[in-house]
């Protein structure tokens, strides 16, 4: 009776084998035997080594399936489970196969891996005498993979070729595995050692085997059937071209050079061209004398710029007048030509002593040296080609006697005193009347005046106070300005504090504050409040008129119909123009006087188009008020529906803007409530500049080679970074070397560099996303080669700066029957109906089909979002109440459950339901051990952090973060992004020390841990994303570390043929982006306010739409 350990050919075997190796380390390198049933229908394997009963019991105690076996007289193997306390029926294998192996890991067969795993590095093993190797090499070359290395090895079956290739084509790996007739075996490297396992399989004891192989200096290949082949790891490898014998089958012919005798006669001729300024004139005697008026009128210095020579030829005497052209002095040639009536001759570009008639050129164009030789310009002082009715004539001035025109002039002096005196006597002086004026006083500098104005207490306008003050009791007696101001400020403070808390959907306080602000002369805030009052209330003539008059005053406009039409049809509006246009439109619609002003339907259509666009720089409140008014005026429910979709779509897509949608007093109030706001708010440009300069110094240390693509990328990325913070000169200096040598770079890199340059220009002009998309489109449309375009697009779409649209979300993964049902529910107006449909879908089988986990999650997520879109708090709460228990009970996979819970947290946070958020946070925390990878947890952690930000951190938040910490600090794949998120969470809780500790460890592990390239990149990106919340100084320390470790970010195998290092480029972009971010510092309170405001706007828009459309 022998002892053995039984394996069951299922996932449990992995744990069994590891426990076996762990429990009996002495037997790892001992001989083992594998016994398998001969009948394929029977499953299981017994591993046997010489272990005794004590060892068997030891294994049994570890939970291993220890068996005793014996062979009976008929050659069958009887396998008894070894459980001393129980008697169990033995298994009987009628026939069995044995395989002896010298070590435990060689006795173990590889296990199949699900799917077709991607291999970083693979080897193809083919017998040398078969044609498998030939076919493989041919296919590799056809797929453009000539980077393979070939090694000749020998094992017990003979010589074979080993073709090693990084990022091996999946097609070849699958073909080798599935087509035995190919006579090629494919292996992929297990870990980073010398163990190679058949493609599609993994060895359970790979790390053990790798260690042993390293000690033995051997390289092993293990087949699916457990066969091991060993080769020398140091066998020399050759390039794929070294094993090719390339042939070109064609007839050969050798040609010898023969003297060329043929000459082709080409006649040069004069042809028209754009006229240039003349510099030389050929004059006969008469024309020469006509120069006198010119000589009389020209000052001496200009006269000196003409030379003249007298020459004789077959046509008699000719004078050659030439202007000496001086840089930076205006040319005189045209005046000469006008005076003489001769066009003259102009110098030929490239041949400085050849003159052609003005407006003529020589064709065909010839090389300069050939032209010089043909026309003999080297032997002459000047060569002139004249042209008359007989054709062109070549005139060579070999050695003219030139002198300046001045030397041909004789000056004569005369005294005309008598005539002058007579003239004076006849003259009557008629001076205009003189008024002596004081010189105007030097104007005070504008800034100074503004300062004085700012220091002066705001004046209360008597009429306004009488008619507009909302609170009669709060108003002091008229005439006491300072008392009025103080009272105004006091009254405003109360309103401001209340409105800055957020969530105010009552128009009255907005209106009251607007009126107070108007009295105090605070026009910007007053307009923002008026917009909010109109948005939350109805379109009131008085409010609309006040808003329009304030906007008109601010923009200095008259309000004529023509002006409004011009604005409505303008391609782009400034914030001031857009706000003014909106206000005027509201005023006219409220008054109902559009027709009187000749504002046509076309005008209102243009206004609707303009305000429906998310690009128009006005607050979403004003945009909706205008759209509501315009479409309400025409009772156009369809267009109102479209406008609602566009506006809400824009809000969903971009959120609200702090600068446009938040009144200034709210921003100010929120800033004051932030602790330490003075230090953290709005990092100064100088601080960013210093940080960027430090970073650049570090990146360019040791001088960047100018023609190297990598340094070109570094320059380009820093160029964009500097441009973002407004340091245009530094940016241009950095990219100048690349610009100068642009042509030496390969096409994909060259095009990407051009895109970076375009991005710099874009950053400088602060263009919008539409302009950037057009810029990119123009650059790419010039690219004809699909392969180059593909490579450019590969990087562009992954780049933060070069991509022209946000990454798109995936399409629905629901089966059609569910998709229809969910799509219909998404259109329901009532939360109760949505909740009902959700309940139906998740409770019952539809068409006899049950939903898979991923489908349940999609149904929940989509319907929760639909409820949010509907905007009613009651409806959202109803749907959430259905969704939350369903997530817990129906979703089995922990990862999916986390994702769905994350969505629920988002919705609960939108409702402001702290209790529900607490419970859901607990749920996510409780799933930490259940999820397969930390990545799964991230889908729930991100919305949870957003909820914390929104609701303020509390005890439950800390508990939540602490529950996640063991996962985040583990070594599991994907734990680093999680750690970065946690660091951000602790920072929110003001636990700076722990947050810093976590982020530093994330950065450290991202650079030093053994990670795949994708995990490393993800970790780096997550760390940088979290670091944005840190003050600049501690942030820079970590950013600098990542920059120093940039070489650790190696490339993905799919990108190796792209001619650039994708992950390094992307990482560097993010590093620079973290320091030179162009967004203003947005405090978490501000974010929370915007979130709440967004919900309020959504609710109001939907309420308006329903009331207008009767839905």
């Amino acid at each position: 009776m022998k002892y053995g350990v039984r394996l069951h050919d299922d996932p449990r075997d992995l744990a069994t084998l590891r426990a076996l190796a762990d429990t009996l380390p002495a037997l790892r390198a001992a001989p083992w035997t594998e016994l398998r049933p001969g009948d394929p229908a029977q499953r299981g394997t017994v591993l046997h080594a010489a272990f005794d009963i004590a060892q068997a019991q030891q294994l049994r105690a570890r939970g291993l399936d220890v068996v005793r076996y014996t062979e009976d007289d008929f050659g069958a193997l009887i396998v008894h489970p070894y459980r001393p306390a129980r008697i169990e029926a033995p298994a009987r294998w009628e026939s069995f196969l044995t395989r002896a192996a010298p070590t435990l890991w060689e006795a173990v067969r590889p296990r199949p891996v699900a799917g077709d795993p991607i291999a970083d590095e693979a080897c193809f093993w083919a017998p040398r005498d078969g044609d498998g190797a030939h076919r493989t090499i041919e296919r590799l070359l056809a797929l453009g993979r000539d980077d393979a290395m070939v090694t000749t090895v020998r094992d017990d079956t003979g010589e074979a070729l080993l073709i090693q290739v990084a990022a091996a084509p999946l097609y070849l790996l699958m073909r080798a595995r599935e087509e035995p007739a190919e006579a090629v075996r494919a292996y992929v490297r297990a870990g980073d050692g010398d163990l190679w396992v058949a493609f599609g399989y993994a060895h359970p004891l790979a790390s053990l085997a790798t260690r042993a192989l390293r000690e033995q200096r051997r390289r092993a290949f293990v087949d699916a059937d457990g066969r091991w082949r060993f080769v020398d790891p140091d066998a020399p490898a050759r390039s794929i071209y070294d094993v090719l014998e390339t042939r070109f089958e064609a007839r050969a012919a050798e040609w010898t050079s023969a003297p060329a005798t043929e000459r082709f006669r080409i006649t040069l001729r004069l042809a028209p061209t754009a006229p240039a300024d003349p510099e030389l004139w050929v004059l006969d005697a008469e024309q020469f004398l006509a120069l006198e008026p010119l000589v009389e009128s020209l000052p001496d210095a200009e006269l000196a710029r003409f030379t003249i020579s007298r020459n004789t030829g077959p046509d008699g005497t000719r004078y050659v007048l030439q202007e000496l052209v001086r840089p930076n002095l205006s040319r005189l040639g045209v005046r000469v030509s006008d005076l003489l009536g001769v066009p003259g001759y102009a110098r030929t570009p490239g041949v400085d002593n050849l003159y052609l008639p003005v407006g003529r050129r020589l064709v065909p164009a010839m090389r300069r040296d050939e032209l010089r030789a043909l026309l003999g310009t080297e032997r002459a002082r000047a060569v002139i080609i004249t042209e008359d009715s007989d054709g062109p004539c070549l005139v060579a001035l070999t050695n003219p006697e030139e002198s300046t025109l001045r030397s041909w002039v004789e000056y004569a002096a005369s005294d005309h005193r008598t005539e002058l005196e007579r003239l004076v006597e006849r003259s009557v002086f008629d001076w205009p009347e003189l008024n002596i004026e004081r010189p105007p006083a030097a104007p005070e500098p504008r800034q100074r005046a503004e300062e004085v104005e700012a220091q002066r207490p705001p004046r209360a306008r008597r009429r306004d106070v009488e008619t507009e003050a909302p609170d009669e009791a709060a108003r002091p007696a008229a005439g006491d300005e300072s008392a009025v101001t103080a009272a105004l400020r006091e009254a405003m403070r109360g309103y401001e504090a209340r409105l800055a808390e957020g969530g105010c959907e009552d128009p009255t306080p907005w209106r009251d504050l607007a009126l107070l602000k108007l009295q105090a002369g605070d026009a910007d805030d007053a307009c923002a409040c008026l917009e909010a009052a109109i948005f939350h209330g109805s379109l009131d003539v008085d409010l609309a008129a006040r808003l329009a008059s304030q906007r008109a005053r601010a923009s200095g406009r008259s309000g004529s119909a023509e002006e409004l039409v011009t604005l409505a049809t303008a391609e782009r509006l400034t914030p001031g123009e857009a706000a003014y246009l909106g206000a005027r439109v509201l005023e006219h619609i409220a008054r109902g006087d559009a027709l009187e002003l000749n504002l046509t339907e076309g005008f209102f259509q243009e206004v609707a188009r303009c305000f429906a666009s998310p690009e128009t720089p006005v607050s979403r409140r004003l945009a909706w008020s205008v759209l509501r008014a315009v479409h309400g005026r025409a009772r156009d429910a369809l267009e109102l529906t479209r406008a609602k979709e566009r506006l809400l779509g824009g809000v969903n897509d971009r959120g609200l803007s702090e600068s446009i949608d938040l009144p200034r007093f709210v921003r100010f109030a929120l800033a004051l409530t932030e602790e330490g706001a003075a230090g953290e708010l709005a990092r100064s440009q100088a601080e960013q500049r210093r940080a960027m300069e430090d970073l650049w110094r570090e990146a360019s240390e040791g001088a960047l080679p100018e023609l190297d693509p990598r340094s070109a990328y570094v320059r380009m990325i820093f160029g964009v970074g500097f441009m973002r913070i407004g340091a245009a000169t530094a940016a241009r200096d950095i990219v100048a070397p690349v610009e100068a040598e642009m042509a030496v770079h390969e096409p994909p890199n060259r095009v990407i560099f051009q895109l970076y340059l375009a991005r710099m220009a874009h950053e400088a002009t602060r263009g919008d996303s539409g302009a950037w998309a057009r810029e990119v489109e123009t650059a790419l449309s010039a690219l004809k080669d699909a392969r180059v375009k593909d490579r450019v697009e590969f990087l562009r779409k992954r780049s933060e700066w070069l991509r022209s649209a946000a990454p798109t979300s995936a399409t629905s993964s629901l089966r059609p029957v569910f998709e229809r049902s969910v799509a219909e529910a998404e259109g329901f107006a009532s939360g109760a109906l949505i909740a009902g449909r959700m309940s139906e879908l998740l409770d019952e089988r539809v068409d006899q089909r049950a939903l898979f986990d991923y489908e349940i999650v999609e149904v929940i997520e989509r319907l929760l979002r639909a409820a949010l879109r509907n905007g009613s708090d009651e409806g959202i709460a109803t749907v959430l109440a259905v969704a939350t228990p369903k997530v817990a009970t129906r979703v089995r996979a922990a990862g999916r459950r986390v994702s769905a819970t994350g969505e629920c947290i988002k919705v609960a946070a939108a409702l402001g339901d702290l209790g529900a958020v607490d419970d859901l946070l607990e749920t996510v925390a409780s799933l930490t051990n259940a999820v397969q990878t930390p990545k799964d947890l991230l889908t729930g952690v991100h919305p949870s952090l957003a909820a914390l930000r929104r609701l303020g951190a509390g005890d439950s938040a800390r508990r939540f973060l602490e529950a996640l910490e063991p996962v985040a600090t583990s070594t599991a794949s994907g734990s680093l992004p999680m750690r970065a998120s946690l660091a951000e969470g602790y920072l929110l809780l003001k636990d700076d020390a722990h947050a810093t500790e976590l982020i530093e460890s994330t950065v450290g592990d991202a650079l030093s841990a053994e990670l795949s390239h994708v995990d490393r990149f993800d970790a780096g990106v997550a760390a940088l994303a979290a670091l944005r919340h840190w003050p600049m100084e501690p942030r820079m320390a970590s950013v600098r570390r990542l920059l120093q470790g940039l070489d650790r970010f190696t490339d993905a195998f799919t990108a190796r043929d792209k001619l650039y290092e994708t992950y390094k480029v992307l990482m560097l972009e993010r590093i620079v982006d973290t320091v030179a971010d162009d967004v203003t510092f947005e405090s978490d309170k501000v974010r929370g306010y915007l979130d709440e405001d967004e919900q309020a706007i959504r609710r109001r828009v939907i309420a308006d739409w329903r009331s207008a459309c009767g839905r």
Binding site: D116, Y171, E178
Partner: protein, 327 residues
């Protein structure tokens, strides 16, 4: 409807006629056999086909001649160039005001897409969301909603053209419905003289109102019969595996799987479950149409048209050729 037994008697003749029709149509174009073959296969399988290419690359001309060659009546064909301002009523027909007064939301569909048997939608991705959603239902389910009631549409063949495939998620669903997308490229660089000659003849035909291609060898009914035959054959063995085992040799099927996996993994081509099944169907249709038998490796070249994004199309086509060793 026709039974399998009835169709079996004449399927070879139908196949022959459709192939002759395909080759004859090719004579009126220069280097467009690839597009014509795909149009024919898609018409046989009743799957929509998308032409992607710059203006002036014979996209519309191909479809118009193909349709004219089938001898269809004017009301059976619907053609429209979409813009972002196109209203649903231009495609689906105007709302019937009389019925609307009676509280019924019905469109007058005569001469519009719901009643056409063949349709060509130019610049399809420029349409607005209302039209896109209706198109999705028509393409996917062959249904059209009138006053809340789903009515079947007559549409059997849908061709569409675009200059570009926009990368907007809301258009992904429609783009995914086009299993086959073919890039049309200018041919003037390679076939300058032939293009001028053929172009001049086309101008003459237009000026003299001649349509020699209209005498096509195959009729619209032939295409319907072919599709019916294929549908009946797919289900002949009572299970999908029966069709595969009979018509898709094991080694070719393994090659099919390998190429799909490679495109998904290495080239990041998104192939949905729906698309995979449709690809199988179209490949089978091509094989039967072209050589009347089981699928061969060269039939898998259809996978080269499975790219989704504009820049993928050429790359995927080259990759598939290299993988299948089709030169």
């Amino acid at each position: 409807m026709w039974t399998l037994r009835e169709l079996e008697r004449e399927i070879d003749a139908i196949r022959e006629r459709i192939n002759r029709h395909r080759r004859a149509l090719d004579e009126y174009f220069v280097k467009r056999s690839e597009e014509i073959d795909l149009a024919t296969v898609c018409a046989c399988a009743q799957e929509p086909l998308l032409f992607v290419g710059p203006p002036g690359t014979a996209k519309s001309d191909l479809v118009v001649k193909f349709v004219e060659s089938l001898g269809l009546g004017e009301s059976d064909y619907f053609e429209y160039m979409l813009t972002k301002f196109t209203e649903p009523s231009e495609i689906l027909g105007p709302i019937d005001i009389d019925l609307l007064k009676q509280g019924r939301f019905m469109r007058r569909t005569k001469g519009k897409l719901p009643e056409a048997k063949v349709a060509f939608l130019d610049e399809i991705f420029k349409s607005n969301s209302a039209i896109l959603n209706t198109l999705l239902t028509i393409v996917n389910e062959r249904k059209f909603y009138q006053d809340g009631e789903a009515l079947p549409v007559a549409l059997r063949m849908l061709f569409a053209a675009t200059n570009d495939i926009p990368e907007q998620s809301e258009l992904d669903a429609l783009a995914d419905r086009f299993i086959v997308k073919v890039e049309t490229r200018p041919v003037k660089d390679d076939s300058f003289t032939e293009l001028i000659d053929a172009g001049i003849m086309n101008e003459v035909y237009k000026a003299t109102e001649q349509k020699p291609w209209a005498r096509g060898s195959a009729s619209f009914e032939d295409f319907l019969k072919f599709k019916r035959f294929m549908d009946l054959t797919f289900g002949e063995g009572g299970s999908g595996s029966a069709d595969r085992e009979r018509w898709f040799p094991r080694e070719v099927f393994a090659e099919f799987r390998r190429v799909v996996r490679t495109l998904e993994t290495e080239d990041k081509v998104f192939i949905s479950d729906r698309k995979l099944v449709k690809l199988y169907k179209v490949i089978r249709t091509r094989a039967f149409l072209f050589h009347g038998g089981a699928v061969r490796t060269d039939d898998l070249s259809l996978l080269g048209y499975s790219g989704n994004r504009r820049q993928e199309l050429g790359v995927v086509q080259e990759k598939v050729k290299a993988l299948l060793n089709l030169g």
